[in-house]
Amino acid sequence: MDTRVAGADYRTRSGGVREAVGSVIDLVGNTPLVNIRNVTRDIPPGVEIYAKLEGYNPGGSVKDRPALKMIEDAEKAGRLTKDKIILDSTSGNTGIAYAWIGAHKGYRVELVVPGNVSEERKKMLSAYGAKVIFSDPLEGSDGAIRLCWKLYVDNPEKYCKLDQYNNPSNPLAHYETTGPEIIAQTEGRITHFVASIGTGGTIMGTGRRLKEFRKDIKVIAVEPDSPLHGLEGLKHMASSIVPGIYHEEELDDKIPADTEESYEMTRRLAKEEGILAGQSSGAALLGALRLARTLKEGLIVVMFPDGGDKYLSTRVWED
């Protein structure tokens, strides 16, 4: 979903032409922030909503940031060496990120994913050369987490388990990159930060950085409204294994998102804004709009974790 090159009018892009870089790794982060103006027509005039388009990362999602940081921190600590296999449970964007970063750096990658993961996911992971191990679809992500631990415990010397749910490098990636980018891109004007929660890495790390910058910035999480939902990448915390990096007490508020309404918002993003995003972006925007209606003025930044191309075979797009 990279639309930056073909026929682009570079005058509209601050900073001008991007410099050539030495490696695809250098393209992680520094994603665009864009004012959402169409689906936001009915919000109070003093409130602005900006979306951070994480689909512009090389692996197509926000998870490139924590995956890279977890890999690099493990390298620095000596936990990850070329004889080890990167192991984690993930069917989603983190898996894609491990797979491409592993490919680039020359590591083997093994991923435990629930058997019901979509065909395009499986193909994408194997395109990057990752080995995919399937867990029971009925057990969901928690089943994959458990199977992954079992593989690790059976063979600890074979693997470097990055464990995104408990690895402090996950939120730290956002503390070091996402947070400062948002402060710079809004020239410090941000008043509210809205993000959906999966591991909680985004909201925890970015939120901490923003509150350090100005402690009255509000940090608001969007969460699926029920245990059985259709929002890929998101966790309903009350019915899941709660990630070790997730500290709910640091949040100012939580907004529940209904799957159907989130799908509708995802479709509106494509049809009215021209932004093809994943359903967790629709959920987050739903939360941001709900928040906006309660404010008189403010600048809300909402995370759009990935693009919509990976979900084209799902029923999100059916009206």
Binding site: P114, P137, G140, G198, L228, H236, Y263
Partner: protein
Amino acid sequence: MAVKVRIPTPLRKLTEGKDEVTAEGTTVREVIDDLEKRYPGIKERICEEDGSIRKFVNLYVNDEDIRFKLNLDTELKEGDELSIIPAIAGGMC
């Protein structure tokens, strides 16, 4: 007629933690209605208000997706297995 129904983790709160239960019916629709009698609240998780299956839920009879069969009218035989599978892989990151 009794069929086995396999329950995904997010719905096991409603089935007293069981991953497999039995229900009666000759079609998927009847089995879901019977499930609702045994485990109140389960139907609204699986179906929209108009009774159609929610977009993010897949139902399989043995190994076949009922959307490629007769949907809710798909018939069941004694010993068949109905699996309720979330369309997304449990919300993984």
